[in-house]
Amino acid sequence: MTDTEQISTISRVSLEVNGVSREVEVEHRLTLADCLRHKLNLTGTHIGCEHGACGSCTVLVDKRARRSCLTLAVQVEGASILTVEGLAEPNGDLHPLQTAFHNNHGLQCGFCTPGLLMTLMEFLSENQDPTEDEVREAISGNLCRCTGYQSIVGSAIQAASILRQSR
């Protein structure tokens, strides 16, 4: 196996990622973020700080938003994970949240975007008609250095409106 075997022990983890059952061999200390990025090649989940402060690595674990950089891969045994790669429909249709960000300039460099989308996926499932202040509070654990947040808030509000209409 790898040269790392002598440093740490390895476990086999079964999980569902974006609707597909996966089995991975991971070192116990491997974070979920690194597991997604480097073991499963899902590089849409970004790592900006490795200590849970920037929110770029946010994914859904059993529908709850989680910092994948603060979660160990071995902790999510049996869980269902949704990452940014799993948001769009299999036919390529974007999720309304993705469309809203795309159409409302909800991003500039785009690095924080996957984490914001996943944070908002959880938030908008709980609050279907949020105010601007509620959105700002909900995403206050996600750092964006490009936009000044306004276009992100606007995108979220529009996504909420589209999602309400489709319910």
Partner: protein, 767 residues
């Protein structure tokens, strides 16, 4: 979105794509996780690199023993300074931006001494991140610690520890034979200060200081290097300028330029910091030594400890004003922390202090001072925000003293076409007066304020960049088009390049795919920096598109067997001269694209330019804050940015730039700072303790796009990215002063400082 822009004083146009909101060319890839950033590339056999960094702020390196690390299973290569070529010191005369390879070599890997906490000392490449992390712990470095200095003013005192025994102050008067931490002092003067101040009714003198702040991009530096046995190297890196990176790397590592092919990854923010190189030369050397591709990604802590922040500063300023508001004289001096190596943005500071105003008697000086901190890098309008804060704070105070409206005070002194800056820039058509008037007319300016609230105002100046840019516009045989530039897209350049190409060619933006070409595929292009890209690279794209049109006209002429002069281009079609009306039907771009392959060959247009004429831009900001008298916390509650952008090619991106710059300024003014312990070790190396604004910290940022077209650009572009940060800290600080009724001179304006200023007892925990 249109309603949001109702305040804009935008000039009307007959353009179809320029000035319109179009679907983002990079949007889908960025909302699906498909966009590939620096750390996202994986090559077969790839190794993982980690850097060992100094725990000392200043120390001699006595020895480095890498044998234990090399022996660890999975470690494939180790590098130290011995693997990075040394270079001689640069000699005068120095260009405005010094690239000293002597310094660069030592910043990439410490040679004789470590000069800051976090300075790179060695690096390893191993089969996994985990092994690489273990390996650097096994490297044994013996240090002999030395006294350190952090403050730029203290570093100039005679008893200060000296960072570089070989550095003597450039142009010192009187000449000095002692080594100094001051690399150079730039100064400029015009008129007669004594006379100027004697004409003043009011003279205001103040001192300011600020802490270094980090650019705070969310994507840490990351690259993948792959060296071949034949001497060529491929590099994938998150950079604002892959051609500049190639230039630096080829010279630093003695590589042939043509053999080093650099591809710019998608970039997760840079704001100036990704205009230089850090891990790239180390990754290349590790790849050369191991024969395998090497990825090097910094941690957030490494980004804070070892990549360049904006310079911290000390400043003093004196301004004389007549009671009618005429500014008679200005005298300013600023000490900038260069960090461990020279290169603080002193030239820009000089150019910034007084440039919005036409003042007869002025002097400015800026000192480039080395201290035991990471070497500074550019940060959005480098050198400008702190100089602007000093001048604008004093002007706001003066307006109070003489009882004149602060905007009227600026209007009375505003520079206009024909005026000259201290550095000798003679202004063409500029829009300061339009910006000031738009600000004064904005509802925000006269809106009522509540209890504990204050309003701030400031205006900033920025001379945009021009320079080298290249572009290719390639017509494919199905009638679609690629626009290739060498400018990494950091603020929406792909969108604006596409819009300008569509406007020229007369086709739908949907038919154009803009790309960023690698360094082997396009001639040299300078960085995406200095708000230059839409101006300079945009001009190259327009030229290249016109080149395509010329070729299409020639093709149509050949096909029609008429003179090329008898073919014009209009709305995406080659159209024969009127005399052929009825005889020859126009040919569309798509039809000509099909014909081309069967006739003279593929059609493309190219342009390589050295753009000038970019000119100056101005950005004003109105900020309301609420100060909590119990906690000292400052909350921005309303913020308006008013900027002359020449012309907004992609207005949604322009607004985004204005809003993003404003919020960075809020962070600079209120929260962000580097905190060192008594051993000069950086204490806040993560986003929890280096507190950047989050969404709930900031209000909606209103934007007013003012368009005073720049006559030197085909579409009137000036540039947009930097001016919003120039005036933001000044406007925020001014709002705080207005709210608490006292002057504030040390950024950031943290709650303890506010409480002290308003005479409250500070709770122990807040200190």
């Amino acid at each position: 979105m249109n309603e949001k822009r109702k305040n804009s004083t935008r000039s009307g146009s007959n353009f179809k794509w320029v000035g319109e909101v179009t679907p983002r060319p990079d949007g889908v890839d960025k909302v699906t996780g498909r966009a590939r950033y620096g750390d996202d590339l994986k090559l077969p056999g790839m190794l993982h690199a980690r850097v060992l960094r100094s725990p000392h702020a200043h120390a001699k390196i006595v020895s480095i023993d890498t044998s234990k690390a090399s022996a660890l299973e999975g470690v494939k290569g180790v590098v130290t300074y011995r693997d990075i070529p040394d270079h001689p010191l640069a000699t005068p005369p120095y260009p405005p931006i010094i690239q000293d390879f002597h310094d660069l070599s030592r910043n990439v890997m410490a040679r004789d001494k470590v000069l800051y906490d976090g300075h790179a000392v060695a690096a390893v490449a191993a089969t996994s991140e985990a092994v690489a992390r273990e390996a650097i712990k096994l490297i044994q470095v013996k240090y002999e610690t030395l006294p350190h200095v952090l403050d730029p003013f203290e570093a100039t005192l005679s008893d200060a520890p000296i960072l570089h025994e070989y550095q003597f102050t450039e142009g010192a008067d009187p000449d000095t034979s002692k080594p100094s931490n001051t690399f150079r002092t730039l100064s400029g003067e015009r008129g007669n200060l004594v006379q100027g101040f004697s004409e003043a009714d009011v003279i205001i003198e103040r001192e300011f200081s600020s802490q270094p702040v980090h650019q705070g991009f969310i994507e840490p530096m990351a690259c993948v290097a792959s060296a071949s046995e034949d001497g060529s190297v491929e590099l994938w890196t998150s950079t604002q300028g892959h051609f500049v990176a190639r230039g630096l790397l080829s010279k630093l590592l003695n590589l042939e330029i043509s053999k080093l092919r650099v591809t710019a990854s998608e970039i997760g923010g840079g704001f100036g910091a990704k205009t230089t190189i850090y891990g790239e030369p180390v990754a290349i050397r590790l790849s050369q030594k191991t024969g395998r591709p090497v990825r090097m990604t910094f941690t957030r802590s490494e980004v804070f400890r070892a990549t360049g922040p904006a310079a911290g500063s000390r400043c003093r300023i004196k301004v004389g004003i007549k009671s009618d508001g005429t500014i008679t004289a200005g005298d300013a001096e600023i000490w900038y922390q260069a960090g461990a190596f020279k290169g603080a943005p002193v030239g820009r500071a000089l150019d910034t202090f007084f440039s919005p105003y036409n003042i007869k008697h002025i002097r400015a000086a800026a000192h480039d001072v080395c201290v035991n901190r990471p070497k500074v890098a550019a940060y959005r309008a480098p050198g400008a925000p702190m100089a602007t804060w000093a001048m604008e704070a004093v002007l706001n105070e003066a307006a109070d003293v003489i009882g004149i409206d602060p905007i009227d005070l600026r209007l009375r002194n505003a520079v206009k076409e024909g005026d000259t800056s201290l550095k000798g820039t003679k202004h063409g058509r500029i829009g300061l007066i339009e910006v000031l008037e738009a600000t004064k007319n904005h509802a925000h300016y006269t809106a009522p304020l509540g209890r504990n609230e204050g309003r701030g105002f400031a205006v900033g100046y920025w001379l945009h960049g021009g320079g080298l840019s290249s572009a290719s516009v390639i017509l494919q045989d199905d009638g679609t088009v690629n626009v290739a530039t060498g400018s990494p897209d950091i603020g929406g350049s792909r969108s604006s390049m596409r819009a300008m190409a569509a406007e020229e060619l007369g086709i739908d933006v949907k038919l154009i795919k803009p790309i960023i070409a690698d360094t082997g595929s396009l001639p040299y292009s300078y960085q995406t920096a200095g708000s230059r890209t839409t101006y300079a690279t945009g001009m190259a794209v327009v030229n290249a598109a016109r080149d395509v049109i010329d070729r299409l006209r020639a093709l149509a002429a050949t096909k029609w067997d008429i003179g090329v002069k008898d073919v014009r281009w209009d709305d995406g079609h080659a159209i024969p001269a009127d005399k052929y009306e009825g005889e020859i039907s126009p040919l569309s771009l798509k039809e000509l694209a099909e014909v081309a392959m069967k006739m003279g060959g593929a059609i493309a247009g190219h342009s390589e330019i050295n753009a000038s004429g970019q000119g100056a831009a101005f950005c004003a900001q109105l900020v309301d804050v609420c100060v909590d008298p119990e906690t000292g916390r400052v909350t921005p509650i309303r913020h308006t940015v008013i900027e002359d952008v020449g012309r907004a090619i992609s207005p949604d991106y322009v607004e985004g730039q204005m809003q993003g710059g404003a919020v960075q300024g809020i962070g600079w003014a209120l929260n962000e700072e580097y905190i060192y312990n008594e051993n000069a070790q950086l204490q806040n190396t993560g986003f929890l303790d280096y507190r950047m604004p989050v969404a709930s910290d900031v209000p909606m940022i209103d934007t007013v796009i003012v368009e005073v077209p720049n006559p030197n650009h085909p579409y009137g572009v000036r540039g947009v990215g930097e001016p919003p940060l120039v005036s933001a800290p000044a406007a925020v600080a001014n709002a705080v002063e207005n709210a608490i009724g006292t002057t504030m001179s040390h950024l950031p304006l943290t709650p303890p400082k506010i409480l002290r200023a308003i005479g409250e007892t500070i709770p122990e925990a807040a200190e």
